[in-house]
């Protein structure tokens, strides 16, 4: 009970502080600009009332935007030393990491919510099947959370935001590209790699098929990186 309350307290502070700095505005604006521009370009080219092209962009765009959201979460607290106060309050490390992670997920959620007008635009010019749209949004949030968990881990490793960003970008990219190099691999290995791909599971969900295997993948992926993050801040022998 207290733990939940603490997570909520950390979440609230972190979420509001996104908006106290330019980070949130820059990240969200850039996300909307890129996704809107690329999507409508393809939309007019294809001339189909579908959000498919939009959700096709999301896995690539999130490789950049997720680490940009998470990069400061721990690294900056280390640089400004506020972490020494945070970690001597009666707060568990898991509560700190989860609160911050959920704040990042919420910010990403806000970004996604702001793309709803795209779907409304599409629906106004043709007949839009809303099923895959909701599936797409749900999948995007899950996949985004997976990327954010990676970013959370990266920011837990360093006191330098840029390092956290680049490392996060690199790891996210690996989990994105992993099923696209399958053709070079023997079949057994290929199936394993496919299962590890963040992108592959997203496309399953975005098709509107909610499969338990995809959910299990995302939840275990997120849990793994969250647990690594908690361990990473365990020994806080930084100055």
């Amino acid at each position: 009970m207290n733990k939940l309350k603490n997570i909520l307290t950390v979440f609230k502070r972190e979420f509001l502080s996104f908006f106290n700095s330019p980070v949130a505005y820059i990240v969200i604006t850039a996300f909307l600009l890129f996704s809107g521009w690329l999507f409508f370009q393809q939309f007019f080219l294809m001339g189909q009332a579908s959000m498919r092209p939009f959700f096709g962009l999301i896995p690539i765009l999130f490789i950049f935007f997720a680490p940009a959201i998470t990069m400061r979460l721990i690294a900056e607290e280390r640089k400004t030393k506020t972490i020494s106060l945070l970690m001597t309050l009666p707060l568990g490390n898991a509560e700190i990491i989860l609160g911050k992670f959920l704040a990042a997920v919420a910010l990403l959620g806000v970004g996604l919510l702001l793309t709803l007008p795209y779907a409304l635009t599409v629906a106004s010019v043709g007949v839009l099947d809303w099923g895959p749209v909701w599936g797409g949004y749900f999948g995007a949030l899950l996949m985004g959370a997976a990327y954010l968990a990676v970013g959370m881990f990266c920011t837990s490793l360093t006191s330098n935001q840029i390092v956290a960003f680049i490392l996060g970008l690199g790891i996210c990219f690996v989990f994105f590209i992993i099923d696209k190099i399958l053709m070079f691999l023997p079949e057994k290995l290929a199936t394993a790699f496919e299962y590890l791909s963040v992108d592959y599971h997203f496309h399953n969900i975005a098709r509107g098929v909610i499969d338990l295997r995809d959910m299990v993948f995302y939840l275990s992926f997120i849990s793994a990186f969250i647990i690594y993050s908690i361990y990473a801040i365990q020994r806080e022998d930084w100055r």
Partner: protein, 306 residues
Amino acid sequence: MIEARNLSKAFGPIEAVKDLSFEIREGEVVGLLGPNGAGKSTTIKMLTGYLTPTTGTVKVAELDTSRDIQSIRRRIGYMPQDIPLYEDMVVLDYLHFISDIRQIPAASRREKIKEVAERCSIEKVITQSIGTLSSGYKQRVGLAQALIHNPDILILDEPTSDLDPNQIVEIRNLIKEIGKEKTVIVSSHILSEVQATCGRVMIISEGKLVADGSPDELLAQERSDNIVHITFQGIGPDEGLEAVSRIDGVAKVKAAAEGRFIVEAKTGQDVRADLFHLAVARQWVILEMRTEQISLEDVFRKLTMN
């Protein structure tokens, strides 16, 4: 209340704290004194469980920091060195955030915040963003943050660095007042700081405890009653040395300028009366006679310089 046993902390090759043991009783106001880099902050960070000791144990209120750190943290108010605060937050929001974590019930929260703001004189800036505050105000916000849950133990790491003299006096008074009912640990590299507020001083040098006691005790330890400065009018060095060294209790005599002599007595002996009788016998005029005065500053310097 606080018990440190054989505490050591190494950062790679740097041994910041070496085999430190001490005990702090409930209600004591203790000054942790030492030059920069002595290991004060490192010691404090181990008390708050922020750093794990390389070896040794810390117990706070009978609880072990390696096991019950959360319960310990609930009883501690801590202000780290350089007051790291969230610069982008408004003071009031920040205090609400701390109150949330400190589990101060919503019903009494407004009152608690108001009380602590008043105590630390930050009411004027309560709606200001922390980043815009002067360092004096930041320090006081840091203090308010440490006091809001009425902790049994207050730990302040260099609370008066970067303050102007008036603010220093204010903070000192506040520490004294809090010290009447709480256990307080204040670190400082400035002696006058702890001398003014603390009933007990622990001097740390290069990670080791080199002295521990009340300011008076430390003075007494290092006092040198057995050194007497005496000045005879118009007496030359040779004449004076010859006569004074003949006194029974004298171990050593040195001649300084213009009839002044520095007399070191054998341990436990007071030679002042003998010097007087000597002067009377020889009909010398004593212009000055005093025992050497040692200040706590001298003790500090002597103990921390190698």
